[in-house]
Amino acid sequence: MRIGVFVCQCGTNIAGTVTTDKVVSAATSMRDVVHAETLQYSCSDPGQRQILEAVQKKSLTRVVLAACSPRMHETTFRRAVTRAGMNPFMLEMVNIREQCSWIHSDIDQATDKAIDIVRKGVAKARGLKPLFPGRVPVTKHVLVIGGGVAGIQTALDIADAGLPVTLVEKSPTIGGNMARLDKTFPTLDCSSCILTPRMVEAKQHENISLMVNSEVEKVRGYIGNFEIDIRKKATCVIEDRCTGCMICQEKCPGKAPDDFNAGVGLSKAISISFPQAVPMVATLRKEYCRQFIKGKCGVCKKVCPADAIDYEQEDVMVTEKFGAIVAATGYELYDWREAYPDYGGGQYPDVITSLQYERMLSASGPTGGHVQRPSDGAEPKNVVFVSCVGSRDESVGRPFCCSVGCMYIAKQAILTKEHIPDSQSYVFYIDIRATGKGYEEFTRRAQKEFGALYLRGRVGKIYPWHGRLMVMGTDTLSGDQVEIEADLVVLATGFAASTGAGELARRMNISYDQYEFFNESHPKLRPVETNTGGVFLAGACQGPKDIPDSVAQASAAAAKVIGLLSKGELETSPMVAEVNQTACVGRFKCREVCPYGAIEELELRDGRVVANVIDSLCQGCGLCNVACPPAVIPLKGYTDNQLIAEVVEVLR
């Protein structure tokens, strides 16, 4: 056995705290080590070449690389040793950066620890065996979850590349939040003018099948081969019969809240969200329907010219196979009411959210594009915008920036002036964040050309005062308290992950942060991947984003999916569990704990029934390894003997 040890300096990242020469000289005296050297940057081309040359010159059979976390570059180095003619799994990487040099300051102690880590790695390397990856075919079918602008973009890009896509949306129409916007910053182009053609395209695309009113219920399988249950919720409307004539909505006697219009105005128990909805199909909400509440009504059924109403309709479960998933579940506005009693907690009708204001500004909105005070329908003259409601506020558990508030306030202030020329807008801000292309100029225009008065300070209180609203704030630039008598107050409410995002993440087995935004695999280098192979992210489900960023990420996710599915089959990791079938007692504890369904029963020739690992399903998590009573299901590359050897070295 000929082991080579390479100690990376990573510039000063490691060498600044760990004396790498000492690590090398300590390694030289370790059993089976025939070569040891330092590398300035092991991941660089010269670094990789040094490893390759040493492997060949010294006929090394195993390589221990002491560098950064294997999560960063392990594949790079596996490739490097392969080029030298070694089996890639004869490489053992140990982490002396994140787990040593970065977290310690005492050079001597850090060096000692690095030596321990290398010794442990060498001990494990002795037990390495060549492994060979398997191959599985991929399903060329993509699931996109969420039909907002990000989901639509991803679906179209993938479909254009010739791959079939299923686009699942939980609400009755695709379009998402963007469909609710009036204009978009900083160009002020009409949101629906640019979005609705894309929605229609998605509907008409031969490679896209659209499932609205649907939610992902269960995800099984793994990269390239997912099997997913999708629940299509009953809407009491037969989708392919409904012509979208809206007669049912017109005649329906049941009032219902208008979700699409963010609660501005009322809708009906059976309705189509908005005139450009895709698909143009009515949806019935049982909780507001007289037929279901009182047991009699039947108006919609009577008036429907297409005979599309079916009160007996039930949820349908659809199970399909997919090769990749793109999560594009978007965002919701943060529900500010509980957290901001000082702003009335939702009790003052003329204190509204930015999205409600957006619907009011929209020509297709419930007020026909007329800005009105909800309390009395009067046209407001003084409009106050309050930024950072539920953003940058640790006291309510929302420390992050919503990243779009500054921009949409500027837009809404401009639109307010356009709608009501003799109005005055006041904008309370803390910092103006306008980092995109043309953004800063846009916020300047709001002030210079449209006369919005910007006041730097967080609002303290809003209260009813002589039929108007009094806004108590501060202008920190002058240092004074300020008060404004307002007709309408618009709260720039922050971003929240979509309801149920965390639950969906658990179903897909991807990680998410404390606000239920999905975690990307690496913030810089793998921004659209997750830590679960085959699951990608697009748009605001990953964190607050504006439209350009969402669309860019959506196309990036599409590129990743297309790349993945362009291959006919995928290599699977050989680091999977393996049953020692002569010793297996057939208790199947392994099957109970396996999260991937990778254990099957196998009847041997002698009639014994033992466990067998389906290599293509096993993800190498090691749970079975721990659960097995006789300990006969080792994980390849991480056998008990290897781990014990490591522990022994550490305890020495």
Binding site: V396, V459, T476
Partner: protein, 189 residues
């Protein structure tokens, strides 16, 4: 005149450390959103509203803070503290500055407030309980504003809201021991 910040943050460092230690708050946590000032009850009477006190501390301007009217006048209603998005106990930061000013013998320009506090404590030390009428009369005498609130006197008398005879507790020695224990020096004695 420009504040030479490179000097002030060095000069003010020890006092700021003391304020941070005693209040348990970090002045650098403040990002100057001004919500404290937006909700401040007394700001109109202060020389520096609360967010500016925080800013002065960030800039190392401790003398301005210790000598400020704000430190003398702030009556600790804690509205700012309860509203701060960074959960800084702003009122307690100001309160701590006030205590440090007091320990350094800084009297400030707010004599009325100082007199009130002093008179109140003297009154309590003497009787064990507060004699409101006596407190009011004493303050008016000392501040020279003899007729302050005089319009309230007949009304309060009629509504039986005033005791003429001071209330006294029995074990006044225990009260004296408390004052001695904290080395209370009631100035002007």
């Amino acid at each position: 005149m420009a504040i030479r910040v490179s000097s002030t943050i060095a000069d003010g460092a020890s006092v700021i450390r003391e304020i941070e230690r005693r209040s348990g708050e970090r002045v650098s946590a403040c990002y100057q959103c001004g919500r404290c000032t937006s909700t401040c009850t007394g700001a109109f009477a202060f020389d520096y509203p609360p967010h500016r006190i925080m800013r002065l501390l960030q800039l190392g301007q401790v003398e301005e803070v210790l000598n400020s009217r704000t430190a003398q006048l702030c009556f600790d209603c804690m509205t700012c503290s309860s509203r701060c998005p960074m959960t800084i106990d702003v009122a307690y930061v100001i309160e701590t500055a006030k205590m440090i000013a007091d320990e350094r013998g800084i009297e400030g320009e707010e004599e009325g407030v100082r007199l009130f506090r002093l008179a109140f404590l003297k009154n309590v030390r003497r009787h064990g309980r507060l004699h409101e009428a006596r407190l009011m009369a004493w303050i008016n005498l000392r501040s020279g504003k003899i007729f302050n609130d005089i319009s309230l006197v007949p009304k309060t008398l009629r509504k039986k809201k005033v005791h003429i005879v001071p209330p006294r507790i029995k074990n006044r020695r225990e009260i004296h021991r408390i004052f001695r224990e904290v080395n209370a020096k009631l100035r002007d004695e």
